[in-house]
């Protein structure tokens, strides 16, 4: 409930509960789970909850842990947005809603720059720029669905592995 700002910010809070309070896991084990969740797609908060729930109490544990981490905030979200939608005709509410759009734009921009910086540091600026340009052209100019662009990355990354196996 307290993990404001999306999944990753919940990691230290989950650590506090799982390792320190309930002692379900050792520190090493916990960081292994986090590393693993990072290599898999999808939201990280629910992967942690699901896996830890599964470890402690099987499938029911997984379902339980996910429900607990997901349901309260979804209800809040629906109430908040429907309040907004039913009061849409009031000019002040409309102005408030429009004022939020630029803020979200900035948040997404910051996130984007963060991603670019991380890529630049981890694989060099030349490669990063090439991928940035290629994916910009593919998705914005050629209108290729992002799913295909990401899938082509899978193929490029794993192609050398397959080739090596064939050569043996």
């Amino acid at each position: 409930m307290l993990g404001f700002g999306g999944g990753p910010s919940a990691i230290p809070l989950v650590h506090q509960e799982v390792v320190k309070k309930y002692k379900w896991m050792e520190d090493d084990e916990f960081s292994d789970v986090v590393a693993l969740a990072n290599t898999m797609p999808g939201p990280i908060g629910t992967k942690l909850a699901g896996y830890i729930g599964y470890r402690i109490a099987g499938v029911a544990g997984a379902i339980n842990a996910i429900l607990v981490s997901v349901v309260p905030t979804i209800i809040l979200m629906i109430v908040l947005l429907f309040l907004l939608q039913t009061n849409k005709d009031i000019p002040a509410v409309q102005a408030m809603a429009s004022a939020v759009v630029p803020v979200v734009a900035v948040m997404l921009g910051i996130l984007a720059l963060d991603f670019v910086k991380k890529s630049g540091e981890s694989m060099g600026w030349k490669k990063t720029l090439i991928i940035l340009l290629l994916s910009l052209i593919a998705m914005s100019l050629l209108n290729i669905h992002p799913a295909f662009v990401i899938l082509s990355v899978f193929i490029i990354v794993f192609a050398p592995l397959v080739k090596r196996r064939n050569n043996k």
Binding site: P8, L36, P41, V101
Partner: protein, 177 residues
């Protein structure tokens, strides 16, 4: 049919959104706004703002809201399931294999190479949203809010929830003049 659409709309971001919840935002936008036309960009950004201001993982909050909006309670269940289940099942099923390959350069490369693609999607959305704001509230307010929000978020490290509240107040005050 609607349940199948909801499932697909969140299944794709769920299995392709490498790098945690926030990286699935542009993928969800692609499906919900561009593909199925369930929402406008304005409504989508309201949803992201609300999602950012509220606690908990953002991907499931988006799934829950869109699911409910389109198909009620059952819609929530389908959307959240599509977001959460595929990657979780993969993770539990492949745990022993993955533990071995956690350090493998191939697996690490995957996240590395996908990151810039997500960055491009986020940047495109940034420009889209800025353009929408420009058209609806004019360039002066848009610039003031964007610069203000950037300074508050990056320079002063103010929590997003408060920055959104400040923007709401700005919007309310601006109608008084």
């Amino acid at each position: 049919m609607i349940y199948w659409h909801i499932f697909m709309a969140f299944f794709i971001p769920g299995i392709l959104g490498y790098g945690g919840g926030p990286s699935s935002i542009p993928l969800v936008q692609q499906e919900v706004v561009e593909h199925y036309g369930w929402m406008t960009n304005q409504e989508f950004s309201e949803m992201v703002a609300a999602g950012n201001a509220l606690p908990g993982p953002i991907a499931t909050k988006m799934a829950g809201f869109v699911g409910y909006d389109q198909a009620g309670i059952l819609g929530i269940i389908v959307a959240v399931f599509a977001t959460v289940a595929p990657s979780l099942i993969l993770m539990i099923a492949l745990l022993s294999v993955l533990m071995k390959y956690k350090e493998s350069p191939y697996v690490k490369n995957l996240t590395k190479y996908i990151r810039p693609i997500i960055a491009v999607l986020l940047l495109v959305m940034t420009f889209d949203f800025a353009k929408d704001a420009w058209l609806s509230i004019g360039w002066i307010s848009t610039l003031i809010i964007m610069i203000g929000a950037y300074l508050l978020l990056e320079k002063f490290k103010i929590h997003p929830a408060f920055v959104i509240c400040i923007a709401l107040i700005y919007g309310m005050v601006s109608t008084l003049f």
